[in-house]
Point group: C2
Chain length 454, copies 2
C-alpha cells in the first residue's frame, strides 16, 4: 500500500464517460408519472423545459455515457480533483482505519455542483438554448450554473429564495460576478410569484415557489430551458465523474474501500462518489458498505416514506417515487442548506429500497464538532453539508478502533466552507441548536402524499 | 508549444529548496539598522522575537535553502499548485499574447500565505517554541498562521486590527476554526494596548498597533515568538516555491515568459513568483520584464522614497531601507487589504533601485473591472489584491495586440475572492470610490522619515 497523502491523476486520465447505474440495477427503478394521467411521462412531456439530450440521459440504460469534449475541457480546469489519505485525522483518532477523502472544493465555485452545471450548460447550448432559468436556496447550485453559463455564453437567471437572497448576499454576489441575473423569489416577474405576493407582499419564499417561477419562465420561451441541480437521474449521472476518478486513485494507492460515505440532500454528490463503486459491486466486485448521511432535522431516507410524491411544494413537477417527508414538510432551519429537501433522488431511494445502501442521520452540532476536528487536522474547513459525511467517517473509524479492524473508509468532501463562516461562528458561540422537526407536521405531510395506485 | 490549459507538476517534482536572491544580486542589499545605535542589527538583537533558524535565513547568501521534509509534507497537500494558460481570457481580449497564471488560491486558506506560515511554524516548533503571536489586518495572514499552527500543534495568538475584527468576522471565524485565539487590537492585554485604550477606549486600531502588541507579548515569554507574514527576507524566501514551480511548469508548456507580473503590498507573493526568474536572468538567462503592481491609493514603489524607515507606526522595529510612504502615512480605505502597507519589502525595493524591475499603480475600480472579466472567462473569482496583477496582465496583453507581438505573460493569482464578496457587491452597486490619499499627508509622512547618515 502506498504511503502518500495525496493521489493526483494525470489530466490524461480524466474519465471519458460518466457511469450510469441504471445499466446494472437488478430491478429497474419505477417510472416517473404524469400527475394528470398517472401514466409514465414521455420525453415530449419534458421537452418544454429540458433539451432532448438531457431527457435521453434521464431514461438511458447505457452503462457508459461519453463526456463531450467541451465539457471535459472545462472539467480539466480543476479535475481530476485530488484524493487524500487523511493521515493526520487518523492519527488524532488513533484508529487502525485508513480514511480517504475525495475533495470537490477545488472547483471554482467551491463544491461538486459545477460537474453537472457545466454538462447541463453544454447540452443546452448545443440545443440552441439562449437562456437557462433555475432556482437556488443557499446559492451553491445557482453560483455553479452561473459559472457554467459564463463558460458557454448562456444567459443565466436564478430565482433565489427571498430569505436567502437577503441573508446570503455573498452567494448572490458570486452569481452576479459570473454575469447571472439573480431575482428574489417570490417575484412580480411570474404569475405564480405575483399570486403569492398578492396574498403576502413580504413572503420569505421557499424552494418550491422558486421552482415554480423558474419552470414558468422556462416554459414560456422557446429559447429558454430549466435546470435542476440535484435529484434527477441525469444530474446524478454527471456527478459520477467523482467516483470514477476515485476508483483510479484508490488503485494508485493500492487500496479498496470497505465503507463509502456521502452526505445526502437531493442525493447527487453521494451518488457521484458511490454509484461507480456500487456498480462494480453489482457486477460481482468487492462487497462494501455504502452509507448515506442525512441531517436528523430533514431525514428523508431514515424517516421518510418510499412513495410517489411531487418534487416541489407547488405540485408542478411530475410524480417520482422516492423517500419523502411529504412535499409540504418544512424542515427546521439548519446550516447545511444543501441538505434541506423533502425528498431524495429516485435512484438513491431505489437503491436504498433494494438494500444496496444504508442511511444514517446526525444532528448538526455533532457534525460541526467533526468538521472542526477535520479542519484542525487536515487543514481544510468543510462546508456544513460535508460535515455530515465527516461525522459518519469518523464514527466508522472509531468503530474500527474498537473492533481492532483496519478498514478503508472513503468519503466525499463535497465542498469547502468559506461561504459558510456564519455557521461556524454560531457553532463557536454556542448558538447552534439542534432543532427537531415537528412530528405532527411530518405525520400530516406524509398523510397528504398523493395516492397513486401503481 | 503545448496546447494544454493546465500544467500540473507531479508531487515528486515539488521543489526541494527555496531560492535566495541574495546569492545573485549584483550589489548586496543595505543592512538593517538598530534604531538606538544606527548600527547593523545582530542576530542576538532579533533572537528575542525570532528563532535562530529564521534569523539565519534572513541574512543568508546561500542560493538554495533546503525545504525541510515536514514542511514539504504539508506543502504537498495543495502543492505543486496549477499553472494555467488563460486561453478563454486571451480569446476575449483577442490578443496574440500567451497569458499564464499560477494559482495559489488552492491552499486551504485560499491564498499564498501558508507557504511561509507553514515554514515559520515548523522552525518555531523545532526551536521549542510553544506559542506564536502575530498581527493581522484583513485576516489572510492570521488565518494562514492559524492553519499552520494547527498542523504543528502550536498555540497561535493573533492581534487583529479592531475595525477588521468587527467588520470581517468571517476571517476571524476561520482563525478560530483552526484553533487560534484572536484578540481585537488595541487590547487591554498589553502595555501598548492599554496605553492607547486609556486615551481612546473605542480606538479602531491599526496594523502598527497590532504589531506592537504582538511583539510585546512575544518578547515577554521564552516559549513565545513573533511571526510576520510579508516584508522580511525569510518570508519572501519561503514564497519562492511559487516561482520555482512555475519555471518547471512553463518548461512543460515549452514556453518562457517575456513579462512577469505580481501585485505588491508587503511584496511576498510578488517576490515569490518573480525572484526565481529574476535570478536566472541575473545569472545570464533570458531577459524579461518584471512588473510590480500596486494600488494607486498606497503607491510605495511608484511614489514613495527609497529610505530607511520603521516597519511599524509605533517605531518598535529595526530600521530597514525600503520604498516607503512614511510610517505615519495612512492609506485611504480600499478593498485590497493585503496591499495597505506603507513600505515595501527591502529586497523588492533594492531590486527596484537597481533597475531590475518596473512598478505600476492602478486604481481599484479598474482592477475590479479586470477581475470580473477574469472570473467570467477563466471561472475563478480573484481576491481584490490579485485583481491588480490581472489588470496589468490584461494591459500587457492589449499592448501586445496593438503592437502585433506574441509575448508570454505570466502573473501570480495569489488567492481567491470567496472571503471578499463585500468588495464585489460594492463594485456592482457602484459604491467603489477610487479614493486618493492625501498629498499633504504623504508629504508630511515623508518629511518625518528618520534621518540616517548611512
Amino acid at each position: 500500500m502506498s504511503d502518500e497523502i495525496k493521489y493526483v491523476l494525470d489530466e490524461g486520465r480524466l474519465p471519458e464517460s460518466w457511469y450510469n447505474i441504471a445499466a446494472d440495477l437488478p430491478v429497474p427503478p419505477p417510472p416517473v408519472l404524469h400527475p394528470a394521467t398517472m401514466q409514465p411521462v414521455t420525453p415530449a412531456d419534458l421537452e418544454v423545459i429540458f433539451p432532448l439530450s438531457l431527457i435521453a440521459q434521464e431514461v438511458s440504460t447505457e452503462r457508459e455515457i461519453e463526456i463531450p469534449k467541451p465539457v471535459r475541457d472545462i472539467y480539466r480546469q480543476w479535475r481530476p480533483t485530488p484524493l487524500y489519505r487523511a493521515r493526520r485525522l487518523e492519527k488524532a483518532l488513533d484508529t487502525p482505519a485508513r480514511i480517504y477523502y475525495k475533495y470537490e472544493g477545488v472547483s471554482p465555485a467551491g463544491s461538486h455542483k459545477p460537474n453537472t452545471a457545466v454538462a447541463q450548460a453544454f447540452y443546452n447550448k448545443e440545443a440552441g438554448v439562449r437562456r437557462i432559468v433555475t432556482e437556488t436556496g443557499a446559492g451553491q447550485w445557482g453560483s455553479s450554473l452561473a459559472l457554467a453559463g459564463a463558460m458557454f455564453g448562456l444567459q443565466i437567471e436564478v430565482f433565489m429564495v427571498r430569505v436567502s437572497y437577503e441573508q446570503k448576499p455573498y452567494r448572490r454576489a458570486l452569481m452576479e460576478s459570473y454575469g447571472a441575473r439573480c431575482v428574489p423569489s417570490p417575484s412580480p416577474e411570474t404569475a405564480s410569484g405575483r399570486a403569492i405576493l398578492e396574498k403576502r407582499a413580504d413572503h420569505p419564499g421557499s424552494l418550491g415557489i422558486a421552482i415554480s417561477e423558474a419552470v414558468e419562465v422556462a416554459a414560456q420561451s422557446a429559447d429558454t430551458k430549466y435546470a435542476l441541480g440535484s435529484v434527477l437521474n441525469h444530474v446524478l449521472l454527471h456527478q459520477t465523474v467523482i467516483g470514477e476518478e476515485a476508483i483510479e486513485q484508490l488503485s494508485m494507492a493500492g487500496d479498496e474501500p470497505d465503507v463509502i460515505v456521502g452526505c445526502t440532500g437531493g442525493g447527487s454528490n453521494f451518488a457521484g462518489i458511490a454509484f461507480p463503486f456500487l456498480g462494480r459491486m453489482l457486477r460481482g466486485g468487492k462487497k462494501m458498505r455504502i452509507v448515506a448521511v442525512e441531517p436528523a432535522a430533514c431525514p428523508s431516507l431514515t424517516r421518510g416514506r418510499y412513495a410517489y410524491d411531487f418534487g416541489d411544494t407547488a405540485h408542478l413537477t411530475p410524480l417520482v417515487k422516492m423517500h419523502t417527508l411529504g412535499s409540504t414538510f418544512t424542515p427546521p432551519g439548519f446550516h447545511a442548506g444543501g441538505l434541506r429537501y423533502h425528498g431524495m433522488a429516485p435512484l438513491v431511494s431505489h437503491c436504498k429500497q433494494l438494500g444496496l445502501l444504508e442511511a444514517k442521520a446526525y444532528s448538526q452540532s455533532s457534525c460541526f464538532e467533526a468538521g472542526v476536528l477535520f479542519a484542525r487536522t487536515e487543514g481544510i474547513l468543510p462546508a456544513p453539508e460535508a460535515n455530515h459525511a465527516i461525522r459518519c467517517a469518523i464514527d466508522e473509524a472509531l468503530r474500527c478502533k474498537q473492533e481492532g479492524r483496519s478498514e478503508a473508509i472513503l468519503f466525499n468532501l463535497s465542498g469547502h466552507g468559506h461561504f459558510d463562516m456564519q455557521a461556524y461562528m454560531d457553532y463557536f458561540a454556542g448558538k447552534l441548536v439542534d432543532q427537531q422537526y415537528d412530528e405532527s407536521e411530518l405525520a400530516m405531510a406524509l398523510a397528504g402524499l398523493p395516492s397513486v395506485s401503481a
